[in-house]
């Protein structure tokens, strides 16, 4: 049976009810990490600030908090201090520490800070979960151990949060939508695609300038230009747009399902980076992976996703390319409508493709090629489980889903996937073991 986010607290309650001897400290530590991450997948969905780039950033820091807490305890692990941009290793603790308790306190502090914009219900859920998990983790431990472990966890979290505060992405105003944006000067420039008033300005035009985690700069994985803008029938650009029209016209049920499965709309889902986080959580749960492996994977996946959005956004606003719906209505079919709602920012490259490529690169490095898994991300929303033979198979499907949904040209998806491969390689190269 798969546990869904809806059951997080139910599971937490069951977890709390289990006898002390039934769960080893390593298992308990893993359950604590998984439970907190399941909660944040809900908080992301229900907190308006968390557009995909902002969500990826928060996931990234949370993953690093998780790993660094263990690295401060376990000499077999390597801190990411000195490997991530501007990050120094937190102080290690040589006295006995309980990892489950330390992780709980680290994550409780970090979640509250990184998801602070959540509303009163989210705050309430945080408080309830913190109380339940904390009581369970600390049960039967000596007070001295509890105090030392809690202090370590809180200290690591505060160290991380101080670092996070300096990256340029900590403050989000107006849900990330610009308050001003240049009037289009070229025919290929991005234009708003919806009649939602808030979407008349694009999302996070400065996001490409914030400090990356693992890659050297926002432009470290630059992409080559898209096909030259051309309105002439038969031109490469025109044919790319025509393909979007023809795909929609001949869309199969399976393709429509794929489009919706990877739609991952903000505020209606855990967002695209949350989708990949959900995949990792499911695998960790299914395979009972060690908490050390899980923590390292969370850190590297989080870094890859956060960097993917920085790289992608840097390129999006450098190219500032219009969306298919704008071009198609101008030059092919004035009444054409895509299957999915077109996101309110430029097309090139596809953000989902970039971050899916980065995620696949990292997860393949951790779990290997041809690692099959089932994806339960949207079961609560009535979408089926999808099975994949490998992470790259999933990433490639995610990229194609944007063509099926009518919100990207094929070339935007392909460039995004390749950009993601480059971004992911930086995160995959991070050393998490000594």
């Amino acid at each position: 049976m798969k546990l869904h986010r809806r059951h997080v607290l139910g599971m937490g309650a069951a977890f709390v009810a289990r006898p002390v001897f039934a769960l080893g400290r390593d298992d308990m530590a893993r359950e604590i990490v998984l439970t907190w991450h399941r909660l944040v997948l809900e908080l992301v969905r229900h907190t308006a600030t968390y557009s995909p780039p902002v969500a990826a950033r928060a996931f990234g820091y949370l993953g690093v908090v998780t790993h660094e807490t263990l690295a401060a305890i376990d000499p077999a692990l390597s801190s990411l201090g000195g490997q991530l941009n501007g990050f120094s290793a937190p102080a290690r603790q040589s006295e006995p520490v309980d990892k489950a308790t330390a992780l709980h306190h680290a994550l409780s502090v970090a979640v509250l800070a990184l998801f602070g914009n959540t509303g009163p219900i989210g705050q309430r859920a945080h408080g309830a979960l913190s109380a339940r998990l904390g009581a369970r983790a600390e049960e039967g431990l000596e007070a001295e151990i509890v105090a030392r472990s809690a202090a370590l966890g809180r200290g690591v979290a505060e160290h991380l949060l101080a670092w996070a505060a300096t990256d340029g992405g900590a403050v989000i105003e107006n849900m990330g939508f610009a308050l001003d944006y240049p009037i289009p000067a070229r025919p290929e420039d991005w234009l708003p695609t919806s009649l939602v008033q808030q979407h008349q300005m694009p999302l996070l035009p400065e996001w490409g300038k914030i400090r990356p985690f693992a890659m050297p700069s926002g432009s470290a994985c630059s992409i080559s230009s898209h096909p030259e803008y051309d309105t002439e029938p038969g031109s490469e650009f025109y044919l790319a747009a025509l393909e979007v029209v023809e795909v929609k016209a001949n869309l199969t049920e399976e393709q429509a399902l794929i489009a919706r499965f990877w739609s991952d709309d903000p505020m209606l889902s855990p967002t695209p980076p949350g989708h990949w986080l959900s995949i990792l959580i499911d695998i960790a749960d299914r395979d009972s992976v060690s908490v050390e492996l899980l923590a390292g994977a969370l850190a590297r996946l989080g870094a890859a996703q956060a960097d993917a959005f920085i790289a992608c956004w840097e390129a999006k606003y450098a190219y500032n390319l219009l969306r298919p719906v704008t071009y198609i209505r101008r030059h092919i079919d004035p009444d054409w409508t895509p299957l999915l709602n077109t996101p309110p920012f430029p097309e090139y490259p596809s953000g989902h493709s970039t971050q899916s490529g980065a995620s696949a690169e990292v997860l393949t490095a951790i779990f290997g090629e041809d690692f099959a898994f089932d994806d339960h991300t949207h079961v609560d929303d009535g979408l089926p489980v999808r099975s994949f033979p490998s992470f790259w198979a999933a990433a490639e499907e995610a990229a194609m889903s944007r063509l099926y949904g009518g919100i990207h040209f094929r070339f935007g998806n392909e460039a995004g996937t390749e950009q993601g491969r480059c971004v992911g390689a930086y995160a995959a190269a991070l050393r998490t073991t000594a």
Binding site: R5, R6, V8, L9, G10, E42, R45, H46, T47, A48, T49, G116, N117, G119, P120, I121, R124, A125, G127, A128, L129, E173, N174, M175, L179, L195, V196, Q197, Q198, M267, L268, D380, D381, G382, L383
Partner: protein
């Protein structure tokens, strides 16, 4: 594709004539309403007001939800055209009240009250002279044990009693993890002169507004449900077939219904386009929605959103300096300045302390221009309250022909404004009456022919945000001194056209000439 013509007309108008700005005077301090919509997280939605004449003197009385605090019935002691004055009554002492709607359920000519609550909902039978008795048991009504946040009523074909739809919100026992815990909405169909067991309207997606509306003028109202995406999983806005003697059935994408997922909080309906069919305004967070049928001739419930073109997105505060997005609750169309054009009021206020949304979120008063656009006039009209508003009603409380305003606020006293400016146009207020069942003719359509334009108004029970009224129907007439008027009664029978003079109260009964009525 008439919507396109409507949209094109909106877009083609760079300039417009300024409508008359109504003038409101805040009489909160003196009117005698002291109710606060109070409570913790389990009262984060709700906060309604029911407007109806329980005394029989023609002046609307008010029942205000108090949430975790006391609710109260206020008897209207205002005089015609005078300051607003209310006296609190102890006739209704229910607690845990979310909202309420007036309705003559048993057809005895005395208005009853449907009270939505945390816990069992209550049907209060009106006894006259503003006295009530609990009728749940006598009427076989299962009040449930939920968190009820939406209501609408209709009389199905041939039924003596109404069918009640009640929307329920999240499971309040899931206090720490409520997401995905939406509870069942219920349909209470009559079984003779009482109610049968409730029928689940599943899937249910945390309804915050419901409205029976004959959206296609088929003679059989459907049920629109606006749902809060904050808490549902796999949900969307809904439209239900409600056919006599048939189980409820959702409209499907094959029938034209399109998936829309918003923080649905309130429904207002009115025929803005003049095509005889209602348009729907849906409140949400950030942008709000104005839905117009894509092709009225198709018979398909396929709507396009024209809020942007019409100027009613009302997505962020227009005054006060808070740039964060708004949170909208009760919407209501009414002709506030009597210029013959429907305006739009929207109650606004943060859920509680959601950091991403405006804390200072003024209520909107959007006035319709002669070109069909809407402009914001809340501040100039004097109703730009920064209270954390929820339910509301625009209603003529002192029977001077001009609409007044009452707004329920979370954690602070309800507010009330009297419209005090000089009349900007003529008006008409009517009550419908018929013998037997459905005495107030819920489901009727009032048609007014004015300046060679046919206006139609569907008489409904429900919608808004847990707030409703039953009583005088107010129509602004602009400069018209007389209009032609008729009623399409709920069974489809069309009454005769009558020429009526402006600026008066009329009672319209079937097969009878309009009866004038004067306030005493």
């Amino acid at each position: 594709m008439r919507f396109l013509a409507f949209a094109a007309a909106l877009l083609a108008l760079p300039a417009f004539a300024e409508p008359v700005i109504p003038e409101f005077t805040d009489e909160t301090a003196t009117a005698g309403l002291w109710t606060v919509y109070d409570g913790d997280w389990d009262y984060m939605v709700g906060g309604g007001v029911a407007v109806f004449d329980c005394s029989g003197n023609g002046f609307p009385d008010l029942f205000l939800a108090g949430g975790a605090g006391p609710s109260a019935l206020y008897l209207n002691r205002s005089s015609e055209g005078g300051p607003l004055s209310f006296e609190r009554s102890d006739a209704i002492t229910l607690d845990a009240v979310i909202g309420a709607y007036p309705l003559d359920i048993d057809g005895d000519g005395v208005i009853d009250l449907v009270v939505l609550r945390q816990g069992a909902n209550r049907l209060l039978r009106g006894l006259g002279d503003c006295q009530f008795e609990d009728a749940n048991d006598a009427w076989g009504f299962d009040g449930g044990d939920g968190w009820s946040t939406a209501f609408s009523a209709t009389w199905e074909q041939g039924a003596e009693w109404p069918t009640l739809a009640i929307g329920n919100y999240i499971d309040r026992n899931e206090d720490a993890f409520p997401w995905g815990s939406c509870t069942e909405n219920w349909l209470h169909r009559p079984d003779g002169r009482r109610f049968g067991p409730p029928i689940a309207l599943t899937p249910s997606h945390c309804a915050l507004s419901m409205l029976f509306t004959d959206w296609n003028r088929s003679g059989r109202p459907s049920l629109r449900v606006s749902n809060d995406r904050e808490y549902y999983k796999g949900g969307q806005e809904q439209l239900w077939h409600i056919e006599p003697d048939q189980p409820p059935r959702l409209y499907t994408e094959d029938e034209g219904w399109q998936r829309l997922r918003i923080w649905g909080m309130g429904i207002a309906a009115a025929d803005l386009t003049g095509n005889g069919l209602p348009e729907f305004f849906l409140t949400s967070m950030a942008d709000n929605w104005l839905q117009v049928l894509r092709d009225p001739m198709s018979g398909r419930p396929e709507y396009v959103n024209l809020a942007f073109q019409a100027g009613v997105t009302a997505h962020r505060p227009y005054t006060g300096g808070d740039i964060r997005p708004s949170t909208a609750w009760h919407p209501q169309f009414a002709d506030v300045n009597n210029d013959g054009r429907l305006d739009l009021f929207i109650a606004k206020g943060n859920v509680a302390e959601m950091p991403d949304f405006a804390a200072d979120d003024p209520n909107n008063l959007l006035l319709q221009t002669s070109e069909g656009l809407f402009i914001e006039a809340g501040e100039r009209a004097g109703v730009a309250s920064m209270g954390i508003s929820r339910g509301a009603q625009l209603v003529d409380l002192n029977l001077d022909g001009q609409l007044d305003l009452v707004v329920v606020n979370r954690w602070t006293q309800a507010e009330i404004w009297r419209q005090t400016g000089a009349p900007a146009g003529n008006w008409l207020q009517i009550r419908l009456g018929q013998d037997g069942a459905n005495r107030d003719a819920i489901g009727a359509v009032v048609e007014i022919l004015r300046n060679e334009r046919l206006e139609s108004y569907e008489v409904t029970s429900g919608g808004g945000h847990v707030s409703g009224a039953l009583g005088w129907l107010h129509f602004g007439l602009g400069e018209a001194e007389t209009v032609d008027l008729r009623v399409i009664w709920p069974d489809g029978e069309a009454g005769a056209w009558q020429e009526v003079a402006a600026n008066r109260f009329l009672i319209l009964r079937r097969d009878a000439a309009a009866e004038p009525w004067l306030p005493e």
